[in-house]
Structure formats: structure tokens, C-alpha cells
């Protein structure tokens, strides 16, 4: 072990398991490992966040915010440019997103990859979109069926019991629809569709075979669940939720792990690399740089789970070099860093709906509608110019004062008009699958490091013909459905999409059956190093079009079960 260059200021520490990252998958790894009795160290690169007490903006009204919710534009433009471009940060939540200036990466100027990150205890599970959908064999078999990428080493039947297992704990509200290609989860009561959404649902189902509209399936509680409170419909979840109505590591998995007495959580611990022991062909532990003191430290364990986020985990592996693995640990295949995916979006349509002027709603539903994939789901829906498909997310609503800036007039009448909500409108956006392309990839910069001495990532990614053709279709079907539903002035929108801004980055350490073309096997175990597991988005072999977090959670719980069994059999 070549640790001479590191200043070890404290004695090494030994654990049964190390989990790198405390976000949505790291939280699950921590819960499962500790509940199975393993002394587990969770390393989080960012600051500590205390559940509840550190959600300082949770119900802050706009008049108490310095820029009334619009955020400190100069600060954002100078220090958060990528987070800002991704359209996710605002005055109330930006403290849960990274300062790009402090955490730089390299990407193409013309066609940048937008890397949205949350470096704190809880990671991006504090700010995620909370949409939770199962995948099906339409997704797991797609690569094999079409000869694209490599085959998934698992099928729906392998993951189904683990979907059930995590759903039971997470608490997912949604409506059963009985669709083969979008299997129902175990649901808490669904949130209601509003009157225009119900109307549109009916008209879509009457006019189009294979198309359905359902309420979004989301990890937000509609009734108390496992000690967490039900949603109070304040709306802006990304500020944090002190009653734990939405699922996060903070509200759910980390407290469960803590309750076992087996958890040690160390914030401000940036993992530099995994330590490899050639004698045993095992990962021995990890090297950490303390974010605050810059000191180096090593921690050791019998099994290591990387849950540092898709690109975070891959960055650590690429930086873990040794004689045996000169190009990164467990990278004998050479595919580590390749086949980066996301979901492409910013295409959709909106229209005005009449007939419900006397109807309104109460409460800010933190959820919208979902139109499950209806392209290439069977012979009848096969498309000529693209494979795979997309789903729509959206909602019907009545605009409030926000329309005032663009409304004609001023004075008493103007004010009176804004006292009532505007006309109902229905807007929806498609989220589509991106195929795995080898040259959508990341690598370590050879000349740029971050302030902790870790090489920066260089990220290159773009969409191709399949995605471009799909985008045309997204706009067409969005318009056709809203028109069929009776929408007025239906207009498509066709925005620019940059890879990454779906914040569903996946791949770069993919699962597969063949060690020469994949990094991980069917249990998220690296082919090369038996006690090293990767269960975040890096493991994904294809991207499907559903929001991926539920699948990360199920894969993580499944992988821990396997790993602990193997440990007990002394196979690791």
C-alpha cells in the first residue's frame, strides 16, 4: 500500500463496512448494513445537516427573504453558474447545492454537461423530485433485444421483491393502473387529480389506445407512516421538511441506521480513493481528505459500498490506481467512466382549458401528473425513427399574480383582475431515455485538481439522432393530446437541453454479465474486487425513461443482502 505521501494524523480506524456518501442510496446502504449488525462508517464529503433544525428556510415567506425568493443573482452567477443554469436553485434552497467555484469540473464550453450536486449529509435526497416509478422488463430487456450496449444482468423478477421491500419503508403515494410496463408500487393513498386533470385523463384515454394519465407516484406521505408526518402541502419540498413527509436519508434511512447503534457518520470527509490490497485482492479501506483541515486519514473495513453519486463514485474509482489497476480500481474492462446517460427533457406543450372557471384548489400539491411511456411498448406502438420512449410529467393549474408583469394595464382594475386566479392551463414536459454511448464519458483531468488535491473530472456528453428524433415526437404527441383533450391555444415548447440537467445522471460503472465489458455484476459487486460494491446511479446499464431513484434504492438493499450473506459465508 502506497500511503507514504499521506499525512496520517490520527490512527486508522477499523469498521465492518464503509459507505461512501449519505444520499438516497448511501442512506439505504447504511440502514441495511447496520440493521444486519455491521459496524458501519458513513463518509459524507459535505457539511453536517441536522434534520429539521437546519431547514432554516422551510416556511419562510417571501417578504422575509432578502431578494423575495429570487436569490442573490450576483452570487449565483459568479459562484453557482452550473446549478443556476440547471434551474434548480433559488433563494430558499441554494445552501443545499454546491458552490461551483469551490467544486470545479471540466466540460465542453459549447456543449457543457450540467453537474448538479448536493454536498451535505443527506445529499440530493434533500432536494430530489420525489417521483418514484418501478422499471419493468421492457426496460431490463431493452439492450439485449435491440443489441444496444450490454445486457442487464438482472430482470424484473430479480428486483421485484426489493422494490416491495423499499417501498414499504419509503411510503409512496400513487394510483394503481395495472400497466405491465409500469408496474404498480405498494401505494399509500394517491393525491387527487384536480378537475382539469381528471377531464384530460378521461379524454386521453378515450382518444388514444395505450395512453394513460395518472397522478404522479411520489415519495411523499399522504398519511402518517413509520413515525413520519403526513404532507401539509406547503409545496417547496427542497427547503427540507421537518416532519419528514417526503422521503430522504435525513428523514428516514439515517435515523433507522442510527437507531441500531452501529452507525458512525463522519461529515466533511472527502474520499480520495479506495485502498487496494494486492495480496488478498480486496479493497482494504479508503483514503479520506478532511474537508476542513485538509488532513489525510485512512479507514478500513471488510466491505465497501460506493454511493457517492454516479459521477462521484466513478471519480473515486478512477482515482484509485495501483499496479494491478493502473486505470482505476475494478477497471480491468476499461469501461469505467463510459456510457454516461441522463434523461433528456425541455420539450412539451401547454394549453388553456375552459369550463372550470368556478373551480379552484387548496394547498400546494408537491406532485403532478404522469403519462407513462406509450411509444415502443409493443408492436402496435413501434416507431420508425427512434427506439425506447418517454413519459410526460405536468399539471393543470391557475396562474396567480405572476401573470401580472405581462398583463396589460395598471391601476384599480389591474389590481382587481389579479385578485382572481387566471384561466386554467395544462402544461407538460416529456422525459426521455438516452441510449448508452461509449463516448459520453468522464475521465480524470491530468492537470487540474480541486483544493483537496483530487484530480477534477472532465465530462463530455451529448445526445444523438435517436434522442433528437424522439424530441420531435415528444412535441407532436404533447400537442396532439392536449388538443384532443379540448385545450385552447395549445402550443409546443422546444427548449435547449444540456446533458446532466435532468439530474438523472446514470452509468459510467455499468452492471453487466461479462467482466470484459462491464464493471459490476448482477449484485452490484465489482467483477474484479469482490468486497467492493457500487449501488448508486453509476451502476445503470440503460436509462429507461422513469425517474431512477427507486431503482437505486431497491438495488442497494438487494446488494447489501447479498454482500452480508457472502461475508457470513466468508466469500468476501
Amino acid at each position: 500500500m502506497e500511503k507514504k505521501e499521506y499525512n496520517i494524523s490520527n490512527p486508522p480506524e477499523e469498521y465492518d463496512a464503509i459507505v461512501v456518501g449519505s444520499g438516497i442510496s448511501g442512506g439505504w446502504a447504511a440502514k441495511e448494513l447496520t440493521e444486519k449488525g455491521l459496524k458501519t462508517l458513513v463518509l459524507e464529503r459535505g457539511r453536517d445537516v441536522k434534520h429539521g433544525e437546519d431547514y432554516k428556510t422551510e416556511h419562510m415567506p417571501p417578504w422575509e427573504a432578502e431578494f423575495r425568493g429570487q436569490g442573490n443573482r450576483k452570487l449565483f452567477e459568479e459562484e453557482y453558474p452550473m446549478q443556476l443554469r440547471s434551474d434548480v436553485i433559488n433563494e430558499y434552497n441554494y445552501h443545499f447545492f454546491v458552490n461551483d467555484k469551490k467544486h470545479p469540473y471540466q466540460t465542453d464550453e459549447e456543449n457543457p454537461f450540467l453537474w448538479v450536486r448536493g454536498y451535505q449529509v443527506g445529499g440530493r435526497s434533500l432536494t430530489w423530485g420525489r417521483q418514484t416509478y418501478r422499471w419493468s422488463d421492457l426496460d431490463f430487456e431493452a439492450n439485449a433485444r435491440e443489441g444496444i450496449g450490454v445486457d442487464w444482468p438482472i430482470r424484473y423478477e430479480d428486483i421485484e421483491p426489493w422494490y416491495e421491500y423499499v417501498e414499504e419503508f419509503v411510503g409512496i403515494s400513487g394510483q394503481e393502473e395495472g400497466l405491465d410496463h409500469l408496474p404498480d408500487s405498494i401505494f399509500l393513498p394517491a393525491m387527487d387529480l384536480n378537475c382539469v386533470e381528471k377531464d384530460v385523463r378521461e379524454k386521453i384515454e378515450n382518444n388514444f389506445e395505450y395512453r394513460h394519465l395518472t397522478i404522479g407516484r411520489c415519495a411523499v406521505l399522504t398519511e402518517p407512516h413509520k413515525g413520519r408526518g403526513a404532507c401539509h402541502y406547503c409545496g417547496p419540498c427542497s427547503r427540507g421538511c421537518s416532519v419528514g413527509a417526503y422521503f430522504s436519508s435525513q428523514s428516514s434511512t439515517l435515523p433507522a441506521a442510527r437507531n441500531t447503534g452501529n452507525l458512525t457518520l463522519r461529515p466533511n470527509s472527502i474520499v480520495h480513493s479506495v485502498i487496494y490490497d494486492k495480496e488478498t485482492n480486496r479493497a482494504r479501506g479508503v483514503r479520506v481528505v478532511d474537508r476542513l483541515t485538509n488532513e489525510s486519514k485512512e479507514f478500513y473495513a471488510r466491505v465497501i459500498f460506493l454511493n457517492a453519486s454516479t459521477l462521484g463514485s466513478t471519480q473515486i474509482m478512477l482515482n484509485s490506481t495501483s499496479d494491478a489497476f493502473p486505470n482505476g480500481i475494478a477497471n480491468s474492462s476499461g469501461v469505467l467512466g463510459h456510457y454516461l446517460m441522463d434523461h433528456h427533457f425541455r420539450v412539451g406543450a401547454s394549453g388553456r382549458f375552459e369550463g372550470y372557471e368556478d373551480r379552484y384548489y387548496h394547498g400546494n400539491r408537491p406532485n403532478g401528473i404522469y403519462i407513462p411511456r406509450f411509444r415502443n411498448i409493443n408492436e402496435q406502438t413501434k416507431q420508425e425513427d427512434f427506439v425506447r420512449g418517454y413519459g410526460f410529467q405536468g399539471r393543470a393549474s391557475r396562474p396567480s399574480w405572476g401573470r401580472g408583469s405581462g398583463m396589460e394595464g395598471f391601476g384599480k382594475e389591474f389590481k382587481q383582475k389579479l385578485r382572481d386566479p387566471g384561466p386554467w392551463s395544462f402544461g407538460m414536459t416529456a422525459f426521455g431515455e438516452i441510449l448508452p454511448y461509449e463516448d459520453n464519458h468522464v475521465k480524470l483531468s491530468t492537470d487540474k485538481e480541486n483544493e483537496w488535491g483530487i484530480p477534477q473530472l472532465e465530462i463530455h456528453a451529448s445526445i444523438r439522432e435517436n434522442e433528437e428524433n424522439m424530441r420531435e415526437d415528444m412535441a407532436e404527441t404533447a400537442v396532439e393530446m392536449l388538443e384532443a383533450a379540448g385545450g385552447k391555444e395549445v402550443s409546443p415548447y422546444f427548449g435547449e437541453y444540456l446533458v446532466g440537467e435532468g439530474i438523472h445522471e446514470m452509468g459510467t460503472a455499468r452492471m453487466g454479465r461479462d467482466p470484459s465489458t462491464s464493471v459490476l455484476n448482477g449484485h452490484n459487486q465489482t467483477h474484479d474486487v469482490p468486497n467492493l460494491f457500487v449501488t448508486d446511479g453509476a451502476c445503470m446499464t440503460s436509462a429507461a425513461c422513469q425517474n431512477p431513484s427507486l431503482t437505486y434504492m431497491a438495488l442497494t438493499a438487494r446488494a447489501v443482502d447479498y454482500a452480508v450473506n457472502e461475508l457470513n459465508k466468508r466469500n468476501l
Binding site: 419562510m60 427573504a65 402541502y233 387548496h362 396567480s400
Partner: protein, 191 residues
């Protein structure tokens, strides 16, 4: 708002790097009895520009059966944004626009805008709005003055406590969700 709490929140929002003048400005906003003037000292607007902004904003959203822009201290919001949020280019463009209001006013009525009667002020503002509509983008990224003034007023008013919870219905912690109910039971738009 409790003064200490306000400073803590502001410091938190701005990462602690808040200038004293900003704190003073916002704290003034918390203590001034009456909107508009009071103890508020603008940081960017001159006294004359400040008075003009107060009157323009109040004409856009006047006091009716609820207070208007002046009581909601939209002027303080605008000065704060010009000082701390807008680019230099946008700020100059806005200040220039204020100057043109008085030029126009003097051309037509031989008097500054703030000294005009209600009817003349409205006539002038209608003209400004027409001009803004006819020429929505005089430069590539700058909105016409009147559009900027209107947006400032609308955002400043409806995100104020008065605008959000007296004029409209505030729903910061609604407690429950009702997907479809008679509008008459709500009565006003949610802010």
C-alpha cells in the same frame, strides 16, 4: 419581525456577507410606520427619483379596499434590487427611464410627474405603456422602462406581507390538499 431574528435570517441567506447598508435598509423596512418615505434612506435612488418611484408604483397598484404599493414599501424593494441585484446596465437603463418620465411630463404638462394630478399622471403612464408595448425590446436584453417598473411593482407588492396575505390569500402552511373546490369558498387567488 424581531430585529435579531431578521438579521440572523439575512446573514444566513447571504452567507453572512451582508453589507451594513443593506441591513440598515431592510431593518428600516421592518420598523418604518408608514410606507414610502418614513425613515427610509434609498441607496441608489435620489430623493427625487425615490418620490417618482413611490408615485408610479402606487399608480400601478393603488390602495383600494386593501393597501397599495406605497404601503407595501415597493419603493424600498426597488431601491434594494437596483442596489444589490440588477446589473449596472439595467440600473442605468431604469434610472434613465425615470428621467424620461419627467422629460415627457415637462414636454406635455410643463411640470414634473410627481406634481401632476391623477388624470394627467394616468394619461402619461398610458402613453409609456403603449410605447413599451410597441417596442418590447429596445435593446437585446433590456426591457422597456415601463415593463421594468411594472414588473418591479408587481413582484415587490405581491411578495410583500400586505400583497401576499391581505390582498391575496396566503398559503404558506395550508395543512391539507383539496384538489377541486368552488372558487367562491377561496374567494381570492393564492399568493
Amino acid at each position: 419581525m424581531d430585529r435579531r431574528e431578521a438579521i440572523k435570517q439575512l446573514a444566513f441567506l447571504s452567507g453572512g456577507a451582508l453589507s451594513l447598508s443593506t441591513v440598515a435598509g431592510i431593518m428600516g423596512g421592518c420598523t418604518a410606520e408608514n410606507g414610502g418615505g418614513g425613515s427610509f434612506t434609498p441607496q441608489t435612488l435620489s430623493d427625487a427619483q425615490h418620490e417618482l418611484v413611490i408615485q408610479l408604483s402606487e399608480r400601478i397598484i393603488p390602495a383600494t379596499d386593501t393597501p397599495g404599493a406605497k404601503a407595501a414599501r415597493v419603493n424600498q424593494y426597488i431601491d434594494h434590487m437596483l442596489t444589490n441585484w440588477n446589473t449596472e446596465e439595467e440600473k442605468d437603463h431604469f434610472l434613465e427611464g425615470l428621467g424620461k418620465v419627467d422629460e415627457l411630463s415637462n414636454d406635455q404638462f410643463d411640470s414634473n410627474f410627481v406634481d401632476l394630478g391623477e388624470a394627467d399622471q394616468i394619461t402619461l403612464m398610458e402613453e409609456l405603456e403603449r410605447e413599451a408595448q410597441d417596442n418590447p425590446k429596445p435593446d437585446s436584453n433590456l426591457k422597456p422602462f415601463f415593463s421594468m417598473m411594472k414588473e418591479f411593482t408587481v413582484v415587490g407588492y405581491y411578495t410583500s406581507e400586505i400583497g401576499a396575505s391581505e390582498e391575496l390569500n396566503s398559503n404558506i402552511v395550508p395543512g391539507h390538499y383539496n384538489a377541486c373546490m368552488p372558487y367562491s369558498e377561496v374567494g381570492r387567488a393564492w399568493s
